[in-house]
């Protein structure tokens, strides 16, 4: 434990005033004033409508906002202190805010929330990101399975465009499905719910000194839940928020997710006996849907960056990939855009070799992740091409095929991991 507590005196006092709760909803923020108001109001409306008798608290972990984010969160409180008493609220609802030290976006936010949960002992917790487009009826979809049906982890399912979330579709999801034998579609959504039990468990895990970042911790949470015998399910929520600002920088996204994924593979080796075809995970409230409106995608640029990557990063790739894989990549890169195809098999080998190299830390781990970015772009080029005209079902089939390939090559990963290279 750190010498200094993560809980400041003021925050602790607020927690004391909140007392034991049944439901805890955490919202991490950093300069999120543009969106957090709606998020918190939607959470509040959801709690009032679907959990009117339960004691609930909204806890905001803020990374040092200067735009009034904290005040917006506190404004969602319901108490008898305000003159305009909320007519439909049976109980007081506390909505409190705490500052944490450290970079915004670090796992400190989640750690703060879990520390609060440790003291307030909720039966069910949820974490909602500050820019979520949550609707009030997402609250019961996430929390009822945990609160009433005793499940431990609810990951979200969304209605998304077929070309959204490709990193998850092509890397994160298949790897988790192959290694841990569970088809969790969104291992780190912007909305997730878990039981107090699982929260305590995560709080006690030894991952907080490692800077996995927010998404990284959620990913670890999902894997820990699968691996260590917790009950999980997926709940369909609605459309995933489309970020209005520029799409996430790919490298940063990969650092946030692929890095922690590889780290997790190392620290949480799969314990479940593997079964082929990945154990399906209980799905509640409907299946994920795929929207198909046309999207402008600069395939040429993707291809170009792939080729540049393969060529320029050769010295680095040489220490990461096996000779055979690298040669094949170079061959394909030289083949020209029209003939270019980044096959599933090649992609699987690429990913596994990267994972093994990460494990052995052949060079700095962060560099390994960065080196994967251009190769990923190549894969996306192929994916987009293949699924240009696909509907939801065909997309599913392609993804299943990819997942099966990942599973087929698991022994290969095993060899690499244990040192044949």
């Amino acid at each position: 434990m750190a010498e200094e507590s993560i809980l400041t005196d003021d925050f602790l006092r607020e927690l004391m005033n909140v007392g034991e709760v049944d439901i805890l909803v955490g919202v991490p923020t950093y300069n999120s004033a543009a969106t957090v108001g709606q998020v918190v109001q939607a959470i509040r409306a959801g709690l009032l409508q679907y959990f009117p008798r339960q004691r609930a608290v909204i806890i905001n972990a803020d990374g040092g906002s200067r735009d009034g984010t904290q005040e917006l969160v506190r404004a969602a409180s319901i108490s008898d202190m305000q003159n305009a008493a909320h007519p439909r609220a049976l109980r007081t609802l506390h909505s409190i805010s705490a500052r944490y030290e450290g970079d915004p976006g670090s796992s400190k936010a989640l750690y703060t929330m879990l520390a609060a949960a440790d003291l307030l002992r909720p039966a069910a917790c949820a974490v909602i990101s500050a820019d979520s487009n949550i609707e009030p009826d997402w609250i019961p979809r996430l929390l009822q399975p945990v609160y009433h049906d005793n499940l431990d982890l609810i990951t979200p399912l969304y209605r998304r465009h077929k070309f959204d979330g490709l990193l998850v579709r092509n890397l994160i999801y298949p790897v988790i499905r192959a290694i841990y034998s569970k088809s969790v579609r969104e291992p780190y959504g912007s909305e997730v719910a878990f039981s107090g039990r699982l929260g305590s468990y995560l709080f006690g895990c030894d991952l907080w000194s490692e800077d996995l970042g927010f998404a990284g911790v959620e990913l670890f949470l999902t894997v820990a839940a699968i691996n260590d015998g917790f009950r999980l399910a997926q709940a369909f929520l609605g459309s995933k928020s489309t970020l209005e600002h520029a799409p996430a920088d790919l490298v940063r996204a990969m650092r946030d997710t692929v890095g922690p994924l590889f780290w997790t593979l190392e620290h949480k080796p799969a314990t479940q006996p593997t079964s082929s075809n990945g154990d399906s995970v209980l799905t509640l409230g409907g299946n994920p849907e795929v929207t198909l409106e046309p999207r402008r995608i600069n395939r040429k640029r993707l291809y170009q960056m792939f080729v540049d990557g393969v060529v320029e990063l050769e010295p680095i790739l040489k220490s990461i990939l096996s000779a055979g894989t690298l040669a094949e990549l170079q061959q394909r890169a030289a083949a020209g855009e029209n003939e270019f195809c980044y096959s599933d098999e090649l992609w699987v080998k690429t990913v596994y070799e990267f994972a093994a190299s990460y494990h052995k830390a052949v060079i700095s781990r962060d560099h390994i992740i960065q080196a994967l970015a251009p190769l990923y772009r190549g894969k996306i080029h192929t994916f987009v091409l293949e699924n240009r005209d696909s509907g939801g079902e065909e997309l599913e089939r392609h993804m299943d095929a990819l997942c099966l390939t990942f599973e087929r090559f698991k022994p290969y990963l095993g060899e690499l991991w244990n040192g044949r290279k």
């Binding site: 004391m16 005033n17 007392g19 008798r53 008898d80 049976l90």
Partner: protein
């Protein structure tokens, strides 16, 4: 003979009231029914408890189909309870001990057995025809709500005798009097004068919102009704100063406010909506329902007073709560459907609170410290239980349990003759819960009630003072400051079942020493920092603030 009129005209602000059924209290003549003779014999018990005002349930002659609220003769006493002389002796005995007496006056309706109604219904031309509200159709005053939902389907009943419909807001055997008729008003004043002259100190006017009907309204709280009340009050002040009118009007506080007028209508009224919210706050472990209803309670004229109660002879009414709140109360307090009646719960205080001594103390503590005059329902001072198997609301009207002997000391008659079965189960039965055993121990509920009444009476602040809520961030603590003239009292209540720490912002009272009122021990002086109190489950503190 009345208590001297020179005594404080605002006596009702300092009163501690005991609500009792004559027939349930003590039987002096062995017929199985309590009577005035018996009540008179038990006045010492009440005086010892600290009571200074009695509120009697209706004792007029009546077919007793609505527990006495269906009156058949306004100027007499039901033979079950004794004679008019018995009543007078009792009244004198009470006054001698400094105990005032409030009696019921069911103004709105009579029994259909009352001679007036018998005459009125006999024919359409009868001189008393107009004393009640008759109609050819049952469609007039449509949209008026039905009060006894479990038994009545309409506010009109068909009279086979005169072949017309008559209006009744309550049971169909309780036809409403027609207050548009001046003769009715005069007669009712005459009735009241009869009792006032005898020495009765106050009337509880039953069902006042419903006195008059007007088409196109909900027939409640009409301005004309208020005028009638003002007239009565004016006469009261003229002829019998120092007496009081108490309103029974189950309305939202804002709708109740008009009944105080400008201090020229009722002296006092029951604060109905507060009571279910106290129970709700206790279950939610959240003070919010309590503070909110009091925030919504309007200011009343200086001479007027709220009367507060935890339970009474009726069901714990849930009329004045939202649907969500009612469902919550039903689920928490009356899971067994047989406990529900009309829109309420027909249980006594102790069973509602799970026979939890700490909760009973807390609720009584709030009753005694919130702004208003407290009313104790007979038997709640010893924690009596209820019998939901008795029909209607009779489950909370079982005989008073005096000792563990024959009939619980209530009556010498055979148990089968009693007006109501006794409570017999091992938890609430009379061998377990009775006055005699509780008088033996200092730690009994009865002894505790005496003590708290004593502390309450030691200062007029509780009855007469202002109230200002503190809003500590810990929502499980209800804290408020009562002030009157130079005295300030801080009340802190932990409405949760677990220990709490609470920080109070008492900067306005900086420099004061807190003196806890029961043990009279000193607590730290208020400084600049928030005042930290730690409280056990359901604990409450009363602090007197002293600056020395």
């Amino acid at each position: 003979m009345a208590l001297a009129a020179t005594q404080d005209p605002l006596w009702y602000k300092d009163a501690i009231i005991y609500q009792v059924h004559v027939r349930a209290f003590y039987d002096s003549n062995g017929d199985g029914i309590g009577d005035f003779g018996g009540l008179a014999q038990k006045l010492d018990y009440l005086k010892d408890l600290g009571i200074d005002t009695l509120w009697l349930m209706p004792f007029f002659p009546s077919p007793l189909r609505d527990d006495g609220y269906d009156i058949a003769d306004y100027r007499s006493v039901h033979p079950n309870y004794g004679t008019l002389d018995d009543f007078k002796s009792f009244l004198d005995a009470a006054h001698k001990r400094g105990i005032r007496v409030i009696i019921e006056m069911a103004l709105n309706h009579t029994s259909d057995q009352h001679p007036w109604f018998q005459e009125s219904r006999s024919s359409r031309d009868n001189p008393r025809r107009d004393w009640y509200v008759w109609s050819d159709t049952d469609t007039r005053y449509g949209g008026t709500r039905i009060i006894f939902l479990d038994t009545e389907l309409s506010n009109w009943a068909w009279d086979p005798v005169s072949k017309e419909y008559y209006w009744h807001r309550f049971f169909s055997h309780q036809p409403d009097l027609n207050y548009d008729n001046p003769a009715v008003r005069e007669e009712m004043w005459d009735v009241m004068r009869f009792w006032l002259a005898m020495g009765v100190d106050a009337f509880r006017l039953d069902a006042v919102p419903y006195l008059l009907e007007r088409e196109g309204t909900n027939c409640e709280n009409l301005p004309e009704t208020h005028q009638i009340i003002r007239d009565f009050r004016a006469r009261l002040d003229r002829e019998f100063p120092g007496r009081m009118f108490l309103a029974e009007a189950n309305q939202w506080p804002a709708d109740l406010r008009p009944y105080f007028g400008n201090g020229d209508e009722f002296h006092a009224a029951f604060h109905f909506p507060l009571m279910p919210r106290m129970f709700m706050g206790l279950k939610l472990e959240d003070r919010k329902p309590i503070t909110e209803i009091l925030q919504q309670t309007p200011e009343i004229p200086a001479v007027c007073q709220w009367f507060l109660f935890l339970r009474n002879h009726d069901e714990l009414t849930l009329e004045m709560v939202t649907d969500m709140e009612r469902d919550y109360m039903y689920d928490e307090y009356a899971r067994d459907r047989s406990m529900r009646i009309n829109l309420g719960i027909r249980r006594r205080l102790a069973p509602l609170l799970d026979n939890d001594r700490r909760r009973m103390e807390l609720m009584n503590g709030m009753l005694m410290s919130l702004p208003g005059t407290p009313i104790i329902y007979y038997g709640d001072e010893i924690g009596m239980g209820d019998n939901v198997n008795l029909g209607d609301r009779n489950g909370v009207r079982t005989p008073m349990q005096w000792n563990g002997g024959w009939n619980g000391g209530f009556s010498a008659a055979d148990p089968e003759r009693l007006y109501s079965p006794l409570m017999l189960n091992p938890v609430y039965g009379y061998p377990a819960v009775n006055v005699a055993s509780q008088q033996r121990f200092e730690h009994s509920l009865l002894s505790w009630m005496k003590r708290i009444i004593n502390v309450r009476r030691s200062t007029p602040v509780f009855g007469r003072g202002s109230i200002e809520f503190l809003y500590p961030a810990n929502h499980r603590v209800l804290a408020y400051v009562r002030q009157w003239q130079k005295e300030t009292i801080l009340v802190v209540n932990n409405v949760s079942s677990s220990a709490q720490a609470v920080e109070l912002d008492l900067r306005r009272y900086k420099g004061n020493i807190l003196v806890e009122m029961f043990g009279r021990n000193i607590f730290p002086r208020i400084g600049d920092l928030p005042y930290l109190l730690t409280m056990g489950p359901y604990q409450f503190y009363w602090f007197r603030l002293r600056k020395i």
